[in-house]
């Protein structure tokens, strides 16, 4: 945002929306005279990711992080808005062939390494699948060599290819998932809570590995986590989500040294303090509201210490990376 990018961003997300129909079945609606109900999981989210950087989405449960991730990789069609990756639209039917070629460059790593690997396949076959599907290398011997190479790259042994997923621990499975993501020579990897199922010492191994691979191959990450400390460790830029919208988008360093939106401040304040500076915390008020009937105006206003009349009626636009009337009017100093 500070300097105009010389080249167009690698990933461009514009005004992305996803509305889920959570109505009761037709008969119930007729009998109970109930209206249709919609859940706005993602409500107008825009961001850019530059090549080689890590953009993180952070927020509490139900804020829409994972829905954004699934729309970006194309697992879920957006209700509205566009995703453009490397200049190719992910929604435009006219460029279907180009998109097919692009798919190979996008991969995803999921939260639960127990669910994301086929338990009946040997590890070698799991990792070779993208290689075969996209014809990356030809010939069985070459594929086998490539699988061995990938396993070594993520810190496993080439001979591990003959084992089944159940023979590995959670951290090792996540390594296998990373090897599979790299198998198609992916450039853009969407990681949805990749370490939240892991113990801290294993989490450290995986985070370090992901950073090393990023340096080595110039990977671009969209990184999703609820853990602010993990995000701080990984991200170049961060988008803080609340009820399907961005409340603040900022450079990582800036966000942690100078959080501007009241929600970001509250979130940072709530993280248990390992440094034990004995900081007094402002009492955190309330909980995330029901996303089916979110509050009018700024969705954060019932919990906000800076709330005033305008917040209750008018949703704040994102101005200079912050969506808050109070900050835009220079009232945050009062807090």
């Amino acid at each position: 945002m500070s300097q105009p990018p010389a080249e167009p961003p690698f990933v461009e997300v514009r005004d992305l929306r996803r509305i889920f129909d959570v109505s009761k079945p037709w008969l119930n609606r007729m009998l109970e005279n109930a209206p249709r109900q919609y859940l706005r999981a993602v409500d107008g989210v825009s961001f850019d990711i530059r090549k080689g950087e890590t953009f993180a989405l952070v927020g509490e449960s139900g804020s829409g992080k994972s829905t954004v991730a699934r729309m970006v990789v194309g697992l879920l069609p957006p209700s509205d808005g566009t995703v453009t990756i490397a200049g190719v639209s992910m929604n435009d039917v006219a460029v279907a062939q180009e998109r097919q070629r692009l798919r190979r460059r996008i991969q995803m790593i999921f939260q639960d390494p127990y669910a994301s690997l086929n338990p009946r396949w040997r590890v070698g076959r799991i990792i070779a699948e993208p290689i075969r599907a996209f014809d990356i290398v030809a010939g069985e011997a070459a594929i086998e060599a490539r699988v061995g190479e990938l396993l070594t790259l993520v810190g496993l042994h080439a001979d591990d290819r003959i084992k089944f997923p159940h023979e590995f621990s959670g951290g090792q499975r996540q390594r296998i998932a990373i090897a599979r993501a790299l198998a198609s020579n992916a450039e853009f990897i969407v990681c949805d809570e990749p370490t939240s199922a892991l113990d801290v010492s294993v989490q450290a191994q995986i985070l370090n590995l992901m950073r090393d691979l990023q340096e080595q191959f110039g990977l671009t990450y969209l990184f999703i986590s609820h853990n602010l400390a993990v995000v701080r460790h990984m991200a170049t830029r961060i988008g803080v989500m609340y009820l399907g919208r961005f409340v603040e988008v900022s450079e990582s360093r800036q966000l942690f040294s100078n959080p501007r939106h009241p929600y970001t401040r509250m979130l940072l304040d709530a993280v248990p303090d390992l440094a034990m500076t004995g900081k007094s915390r402002e009492g955190v008020k309330g909980e995330i509201p029901n996303p089916i009937s979110p509050p009018a105006g700024c969705t954060f206003h019932p919990r906000c210490p800076l709330v005033f009349d305008r917040c209750r009626v008018e949703p704040p636009p994102v101005i200079d990376g912050v969506a808050c009337h109070a900050v835009n009017q220079g009232r945050e100093a009062a807090a």
Binding site: N208, N227, L267, L274
Partner: protein
């Protein structure tokens, strides 16, 4: 060894829990010892499989076969409770030891209003009449921070949010005014902003009521915020136990050092995380000697053959041979490259 003259609320000595399987006997807890003083919060931290939850279950006598307490004793306010018959143990649970579990939905019966659950629990443990019990239930809900308790008491568990449900579970644990509460991962299922509220609540209750708490969690941040002392567990053994400030800021045991360094922090530079190679051993394959020896950077010959005992180092106790040497050797070992904290 303990300086305070008063009897600890809970004293665990050499507690050993074994699970008998077809492939042999697995030792889930290996001579675990610690005390919890009145009004104190003892944090128990460790990674999956370290034996944190088994410790809690063993204390309240909820180890199911094929598991069994194979040795050691648990003493609650001067009275041994690990060998009580089932009927007597049931009176101890709930009345003298309260319990808070990770998932508030499993601790509450979804088919009953919380008023019924609270009143039933209160009447089982006290002589109050139904009306008195209801008044007490409302007072408890008020104490744990549920707004408009007179109205909310007749709601069902599903009508509460996750954080509010956990508050109800805490109220339930307080019903019989126990001296000691075991909280097993009480904030793990909650979002960070709600987690902060629940931590503050537990701290406040300890202070006001003088209740002791054993807080079991994998989250070092929660321990640092809440606990007075902390026990770091590894492969069913206590690796280090001491005042929380000492253990978090300057851990002694190589595993504790690695663990602290592995936690991404909100302070300082975002540098590369400390990495402990490998993973915790399975219970069926705990190496001889010190259980941490295959992953330890400071391993030496003795670690492979002899299991380290907990030895006093200042205010804390550490199970590591590095600290069990003549003073000169001890200093020399400190000269070795250490894992940066």
């Amino acid at each position: 060894m303990q300086s305070e003259a008063a009897i600890p609320v809970l004293s665990v000595r050499d507690l050993t829990v074994e699970f008998v399987t077809r492939r042999g006997t697995l030792r889930a807890l290996d001579r675990v010892s610690f005390d919890v003083a009145r009004g104190e919060v003892l944090g128990v931290v460790g990674e999956s499989g370290a034996g944190k939850s088994v410790t809690g279950s063993a204390i309240i006598g909820l180890i199911d076969p094929p598991g069994r307490i194979a040795g050691g004793e648990v003493v609650l306010s001067g009275e041994r409770i690990d060998n009580l018959p089932d009927e007597a143990m049931r009176k101890v649970r709930g009345r003298r030891i309260g319990m808070i579990f990770q998932d508030p939905l499993t601790s509450l019966n979804p088919l009953y209003r919380i008023s019924e659950q609270l009143i039933e629990t209160i009447r089982v443990h006290t002589d109050l009449s139904a009306a008195q019990a209801r008044a007490r239930a409302i007072a408890l809900l008020d104490e744990v921070g549920i707004p408009a308790p007179e109205r909310r008491i007749d709601s069902y568990p599903h009508e509460f949010s996750g954080g509010m449900r956990q508050r109800v579970v805490i109220a339930l644990a307080l019903c019989a005014e126990p001296d000691f509460i075991i909280a097993d991962e009480p904030t793990t299922a909650l979002d960070v902003s709600v987690q902060a509220q629940i931590i503050a609540l537990i701290k406040r209750l300890c202070k006001e009521r003088g209740t002791s708490v054993m807080l079991v969690t994998h989250d070092m941040g929660v321990i640092a915020e809440t606990a007075d002392r902390v026990a770091v567990m590894y492969a069913g053994r206590v690796a280090e136990i001491g005042p929380v400030r000492d253990v978090v800021k300057a851990p002694l045991h190589p595993y504790a050092k690695g663990l602290m360094g592995a936690i991404p922090s909100l302070e300082g530079e975002a540098k590369r995380l400390v990495q402990i190679p490998g993973t915790m051993p399975r219970l069926s394959a705990i190496p001889p000697g010190c259980a941490f020896n295959p992953r330890c950077a400071q391993v030496f010959a003795r670690c492979h053959v002899e299991q380290p005992e907990l030895i006093a180092v200042g205010d804390r106790r550490v199970a590591c041979h590095l600290y069990d040497m003549p003073q000169s050797l001890h200093d020399a070992s400190h000269g070795k490259p250490e894992i940066a904290a």
